[in-house]
Symmetry: C2
Subunit: 211 residues, 2 copies
Amino acid sequence: MSAEMHKKIRVILADDHPVVRDGLAAMVNQQPDMEVVAEAGDGDTAITLFEERKPDVMVLDLRMPKRDGLAVVQRVMEINPKARLLVMTTYDGDEDIFQCLSHGAKGYILKDAPRQEILSAIRAVSEDRPYTSSTVAAKALQRMAKPSLTERELDVLELVAQGRSNKDIARRLSITEGTAKTHVKSILTKLDAISRTEAVAVAHKRGLIRL
Amino acid sequence: MSAEMHKKIRVILADDHPVVRDGLAAMVNQQPDMEVVAEAGDGDTAITLFEERKPDVMVLDLRMPKRDGLAVVQRVMEINPKARLLVMTTYDGDEDIFQCLSHGAKGYILKDAPRQEILSAIRAVSEDRPYTSSTVAAKALQRMAKPSLTERELDVLELVAQGRSNKDIARRLSITEGTAKTHVKSILTKLDAISRTEAVAVAHKRGLIRL
DNA sequence: TTCCGCCTCTCTCTATCGGGAGAGGTTCGC
DNA sequence: GCGAACCTCTCCCGATAGAGAGAGGCGGAA
């Protein structure tokens, strides 16, 4: 504990891969101005730990068991609108970036980023400064120009992505085949796709659907 | 250098995420019986480093720039059939597992595995003992019962997954639409799918296609 | 050589898909 | 109260997809 040290940045890590947590923890704890105060392997414990430890920053993976990163962002911002969250993930789809940032995450960074960039991001977010690399920011802006799908359309899209026919989709959603077609047509228009299969490809690339 | 130490297990890490390499390196170097002798961020340097350093084990990620994990497995086994490779990845699709193991990887482990399991796997593979968790092994066995797609079918499947029509696929592959249909039909049969969109979903789950 | 798997092509036929154009009902916010 | 967006339903119609049944050529393996 040196004299010039004021207070370390207190960090919580939330990622379901022990290896990634170890890597981040090692990086962070090596810095004189920051320390890891807790680690979570799933979304629920991330939320609990955030409330208990009130860290300066929480680093969040998007894909996690129990509750995914986006859900954690929503819940935590609800509990504490001043929370400083840095999303760190491998997914660079428009939708993920857009959703996280518009729900209040202060930063979004990709896992293949170099060590220095990750540390810079943590520092920035801890001071309540937004951090987003130019490529990520560009995607968020792109996304803003695109039409959003409605909830129902997302329901339909999911079934389309599973390879269901319009008739099948209609049965599962308790609507007529005609209505299912209407939704699919609207999805095709919004995603600028010619066929349902292309729509699935586009939706996948944008991060509108998982798996 | 203590007296009871004979020789440490020399490990190379190949993963495009600096964070993951750090995490693994920290774990490995903390063990008295192993050490990291090199790290690679892409497939090409993984191969080069393997030849130069001749490690006891190389831990390989599947998704890497320049050359993916499977390609590295193939090339390294070609250079040195006695190579001991441990594939470590987030993908648990039949196809990835099957391909890696049948091309000679000694182990396959998922990134969300606990620390101890990862270390056990590295030790096992370093001694030329195969390591595969029961769930992973089960998938490899499942895959063996399934028909393989031919090269041409994989070409077609990729285009189908992009949302191309039969006509479009035919044009791109310089075949007639009828032939494209024949391939698609055969793909549907082999993947046990009713529609092309379902085929894409199945192929994706199995790891037959990326993105 | 003979067989077999793969790739190619052809034909027919039906179901499904996707474009186009409405229209009635709801629940919002203004 | 009045749009506006959303969900629902309805028609028509041409294009595409998928099932079924062959068949020829070409390569490698037995």
